[in-house]
Amino acid sequence: MGLNSLRQSAGCVLAVLLYLFSVSALAVDEPKPLKLTTTADHSKFKELQREFQSGPEVTKACLTCHTEAAGQIHRTKHWKWEHLNPDSGQTLGKKHILNNFCISIASNYSACTSCHIGYGWKDANFDFSVKENVDCLVCHDTTGIYKKPPGLAGNPVIKDMELPPGSGKIVKGIDITKVAQKVGKSSRDTCGACHFFGGGGDAVKHGDLDSSMAAPDRELDVHMDATGLDFTCATCHKTSSHDVAGSRYTPTAMDKGGAHIRGKEDNSNPATCVSCHGNGPHKKEERLNQHATKVACQTCHIPAFARGGVATKMNWDWSTAGERDAEGKQVVRKDDKGRVIYESRKGTFTLGENVKPEYFWFNGDVNYTLVTDKIEKSEGVIRINWLGGSPTDGKSLIWPVKVFRGSQPFDPINKTLVKPHTAGNDDTGYWKNLVWDKAVEAGMKDAGLPFSGQVDFVKTEMFWPITHMVAPKENALACVECHSKNGRLTGIQGVYIPGRDANKLIDTIGWGIALLALLGSLGHGLMLIAARRKHQGE
């Protein structure tokens, strides 16, 4: 080894040192410990690095980059609260229909539109074409602090304020700037902020959607299981162009299309069970796939609704509303579990937990009794909506349904249901003054509809197909739940269900023949014994 090789070695060492130095000089941005699901940190955007004073200000900033987002939103049901049913021709959507919960949004906009994905829908004159009125944050908030209290027409509280005015209750303002800088994908919480609280409170309306679904365990929802599959709503309600898939007005009752596959053009509803699981999901028991040609997945896999510990309303009787106590104040009564079962402003409620659904043939057609339709009290129960379906139309499956029953005001002279003015800190709002005719007059006037001045009450029903709260497979219905006398499908016509059904005539004749064989044998036997005794005696 000579001087030459020594020089070579020194050169190598120097080269390595130089290399190391250059690497350390470039590695300024460490890899993130977590794999991010987004490429954008909105807090780094200049457009959002300012103090926002209102919702529309934030939207304006959003639209500087997401230039087409408002246009996408403007096309949706979430924005318009309007849906033209192409099959029935009925104009539906919250803007038009009435229900048997809080009844109608007409004249109650400021309260109801706290769940509108917009700002400022305070009366019938709301301008649906204004881009800045789109509320991006209500769906894209990740902080959980964004709230839109009723009474503010969909606006959040930015500065502390008294709400309702004159109540002495102060609602704290939220840091809308922080909300704007931390936007992200929608979540169970953002969708749930409205959909868990439909009908005016937690769990009231759907029965299969309530606050327990914000972080459900496996038993409550096998897909949304917060420590398991952790689906968000949008995992199934696969959204494209801001148009959320899935509809209560035109639902998919029977999906024959199999699982969706990338690359295959498929415009069918991506929110059905079949769109992921296909039409033959039961690998071990072909007989169950065969059941699925008549029975919706939900029927066996959602054994009960309201399973998360929050009771859902099952009945709402408006006709008992209006009580006042000795001091003339409104009354609230609770059951032994502390749940409200009577309110002067709303009437009497029946609540239910772990409710077994009712079952109906359903083909996806949903029709409504609209406020313009004539009704007769003598018809008995008026169906606010009803589900189409029959065992023979080839389009129906047996579905689980929450049937919401109640009694609500109608106009006995004009023979229509009515839209009362309920929410509102004014002289005609029923919730404040408990006077029906004034409330109905104000509501119908706002809706541009006639009112005779008289109010009566009529029994009503609404049908809510159950599709959430899917239980793990080990908790699916056992066969005997339906295959038995007085089982769950007692009222279902048009299918022969072994264990439930038997031909009475055949059974009578059959048992008769078997009994005759037995009696004949016994008689013959007795005669034979007697004859043999006699013979032995001889």
Partner: protein, 197 residues
């Protein structure tokens, strides 16, 4: 003690008793599926019923093979002429302690009434139960087989009729077994193969 005749061969006895066990078990589970009572629970009753059905299918494959290859099927050829004699015996002669007009032998195991009855079971009750039972099992394949016009209800009713007829046969069969020269002599014959007359 009279003479002893070897009537029932080994396979035949095995066939008889395993078939008897399977049919009794299928009546038990079948009427549970029908909704008559609850013992195993609907789901297990269905599973047991299916297992028993496929076991019986397997047994029949062997039994048919045995009958064809040994010529034993000839024991089910009906002979009409002496049916009335046998019928008269069971309706009156038996009470007067008359001797049975039929003597079984290896070539002629069944009396004419038995031949007719077993043939009836083979030609009417069994096919009714088998065909409806298979249709029941393969309900999901009906449309693929071009049988969409079938109604599950008709198939179920047919299967039920078969079950009731089998039950009536079963009751009568059990009783008539006890009417030999001692109540257990015929059961013994089916166990040992030897008939004592």
């Amino acid at each position: 003690m009279g003479e002893r005749v070897y009537i029932f061969k080994g396979f035949e006895r095995f066939w008889h008793w395993s078939q008897a066990g399977l049919i009794m078990f299928m009546m038990l589970t079948g009427f549970e599926i029908h909704g008559t009572y609850s013992i195993f629970g609907f789901e297990r009753a269905v599973n047991y019923h299916n297992i028993a059905a496929w076991s019986l299918v397997g047994l029949w494959v062997f039994a048919i093979f045995w009958h064809l290859t040994t010529g034993e099927w000839r024991h089910y050829i009906p002979s009409v002429e002496k049916v009335l004699v046998i019928a008269r015996f069971y309706s009156s002669g038996i009470f007067r302690n008359e001797p049975h007009p039929f003597k079984p032998s290896q070539l002629n195991k069944h009396n004419p009434l038995q031949r007719l009855t077993y043939l009836g079971v083979l030609l009417f009750i069994s096919p009714l139960i088998w065909i409806t039972g298979w249709l029941y099992l393969f309900h999901g394949e009906w449309s693929a087989w071009g049988l969409s016009v079938l109604q599950l209800e008709w198939v179920a009713i047919g299967h039920t009729i078969g079950a009731f007829l089998m039950l009536a046969f079963f009751v009568s069969h059990i009783y008539l077994v006890t009417t030999g020269h001692t109540p257990t002599s015929q059961i013994k014959a089916m166990i040992t193969g030897w008939d004592e007359t």
